[in-house]
């Protein structure tokens, strides 16, 4: 069986310019990333700001072209193709991902028009709202009339409009309260089962990842430093950065606390990732004042 999504040696660099606008170097925002997600699977990409996780999502969506590597959906390379109906995305901030001047129905209609959906569009919009457990009459509401959780449901409905195979979820619940987050995650799981969706779940929230993803890749400075089944990676982390991430998660029970790896303190303080790596490499941690 072919994978729903296959990422091969993806590289994206951004030029660094000096003060006068000359290119003086390059940052490798994504530096040789590969992974595959089997059909119906949930792959979690964990990383902090600057890890390259958003750049990967943008490349999969076709918003940015990679410098090297390939992206295959259902075994077919999608590079250079403009529109990608098979893959859709749910954004981080439900407040900003819906146009404030357009009704929910108008927003959901966008992909239907773009991909020339032939059937009854109004009916389809209603069905989509049903799917995300919102009343059909919400089609006439404006985003400011909805709560954060409702907006995120609308964003999910919109992403499902053209029956994609794969959903990229970019921190879909980080802006929501925990009780709302739990419901949105339940919805995503149920939809995944019903529609046979494959998810790429991008988050910095390791607890959530533990519960939602089956496989996890830990991204640090553009590279996947560790990957494997989520239970294995979280219980027996093999890389220092994974250990640091896990040790940093605020938890609510002693069982969880016991699970967190012990990290050596530097000057009585939790080390930064750079310092920890430097310590392991036998170097003296350098001062990091920027």
């Amino acid at each position: 069986m072919t994978a729903a999504l296959e990422i091969r040696d993806l590289v994206k660099t951004y030029p660094v310019r000096n003060a006068f606008g000359r290119v003086s170097g390059a940052v490798r925002a994504v530096d040789g990333v590969s992974f595959t997600i089997p059909s119906g699977g949930v792959y979690g990409l964990a990383g902090e700001s600057g890890s390259g996780k958003s750049t990967i999502a943008r490349m999969i969506m076709g918003l940015t072209e990679p410098d090297e590597g390939d992206i295959l959906i259902d075994g077919v390379s999608v590079l250079g193709q403009g529109e990608r109906a098979k893959v859709q995305m749910v954004f981080q901030n439900p407040g900003a991902s819906l146009n404030p001047r357009r009704t929910v129905g108008q927003s959901i209609k966008v992909p239907l028009v773009a991909h020339t959906y032939q059937g009854d569009r109004k009916g389809r919009i209603g069905d989509l709202l049903d799917m995300v457990q919102l009343p059909r009459h919400f089609a006439d509401r404006y985003p400011h009339e909805l709560s954060g959780g409702q907006k995120q449901r609308v964003a999910i409905a919109r992403a499902l409009a053209v029956s994609p195979r794969l959903l990229v979820l970019d921190e879909p619940t980080s802006a929501l309260d925990v009780s709302v987050q739990a419901k949105v995650i339940d919805l995503l799981e149920e939809l995944g089962r019903q529609l046979g969706l494959t998810y790429l779940f991008i988050s910095h929230d390791l607890s959530l990842m533990r519960n939602f993803a089956q496989t996890v890749g830990v991204l640090y400075l553009g590279k996947i430093v560790e990957t494997g089944p989520v239970a294995r990676v979280f219980e027996r982390p093999g890389h220092d950065y994974t250990r640091l991430l896990l040790a940093s998660v605020p938890v609510i029970s002693t069982e969880e606390a016991a699970m967190r790896p012990v990290i050596p303190l530097i000057n009585g303080e939790m080390p930064t990732a750079e310092d920890l790596m430097a310590l392991r490499a036998g170097l003296n941690p350098k001062e990091t004042a920027r």
Partner: protein, 273 residues
């Protein structure tokens, strides 16, 4: 022993466009001397309003405090003359702001901002400290928050510092005049997890070392467990449950607290309900 800070039956309403909404309905909480207390709630629960009322930062109008007392060190802050109330701000009680990106003035150096605050705090306390003394104190506090190069940080403008360092500056700002109560407004939530962990540990260490009372305002139950030993759970303007942190997390009594705890994803994976 009486509490250092004691909020008693605080009720606050907001009036906008002719409509009045009651946002706090008789909130009571105690922060004893040297204790670490958390106030946890989701958005709209009223935790920020409570915090602002304690700090005296509620804009009135539209807000109106119509019942209750805020006792600090045996005096009711709500009936205190404005001058005396201002005198307490940033000195006896001070606050760690949430957003490291926007809580520092972009056009002045760190040293400039910290010495200005110190100068007027000294003046209110009747303390005599010259420019050089103030500078020394600023450098001292910057090293207390484990800034590696306090001299250089002091000379920097905020945009030259990383988010984590700015958050440390905000903590240093709160410590300048040796307060007895520290009110922390979700410090570190805007930062990466590893940086947040550093900040929380730093805060914990400081509070313990200096014997400060801490009131941690947060929406994150994990942060509550990491930083407090007593917790108040707030919902819709009311305290729904309170108790020692470990006990309350292990055996929540109220349905709301139970649901809230159940909604938190666990690092250990799914819990059987």
């Amino acid at each position: 022993m009486t509490a250092l800070l004691s909020v008693q039956g605080l009720s606050v309403s907001f009036s906008t466009y002719g409509r009045t909404a009651e946002v706090l309905k008789g909130v009571s909480l105690d922060v004893p001397q040297g204790a670490q207390v958390a106030l946890v709630g989701e958005s709209g629960s009223g935790k920020s309003v409570t915090m602002k009322a304690i700090m005296g930062l509620l804009p009135q109008p539209p807000a109106r405090i119509h019942a209750g007392k805020i006792m600090f060190d045996g005096r009711d802050l709500l009936t205190l003359p404005e001058r005396e109330r201002v005198a307490l701000r940033g000195t006896a009680m001070s606050m760690v702001f949430q957003d490291p990106m926007s809580s520092l003035n972009p056009v002045w150096t760190i040293e400039d901002q910290l010495t200005t605050i110190l100068k007027y705090a000294d003046r209110r306390l009747g303390r005599d400290r010259d420019r050089r003394g103030r500078r020394a104190r600023v450098i001292e506090v910057l090293s207390q928050v484990r800034m590696r190069d306090p001299e250089r940080v002091a000379q920097s403008f905020p945009i030259m510092l990383s988010g984590g360092m700015r958050q440390r500056v905000l903590i240093a700002m709160a410590l300048l005049s040796e307060p007895r109560l520290l009110i922390a407004d979700e410090p570190g939530t805007a930062l990466d997890v590893t940086t947040q962990a550093q900040i929380l540990k730093l805060l914990r260490d400081l509070v313990e070392a200096q014997g400060l009372a801490l009131l941690m305002i947060t929406h994150n139950l994990g942060v509550v467990r990491e930083t407090s030993n007593y917790v108040y759970v707030m919902n819709k303007g009311e305290i729904v449950e309170e108790g020692p942190t470990a006990g309350l997390f292990a055996e929540p009594r109220q349905q709301y607290t139970r649901d809230l705890i159940a909604a938190v994803p666990r690092l250990t994976g799914r819990v059987a309900l």
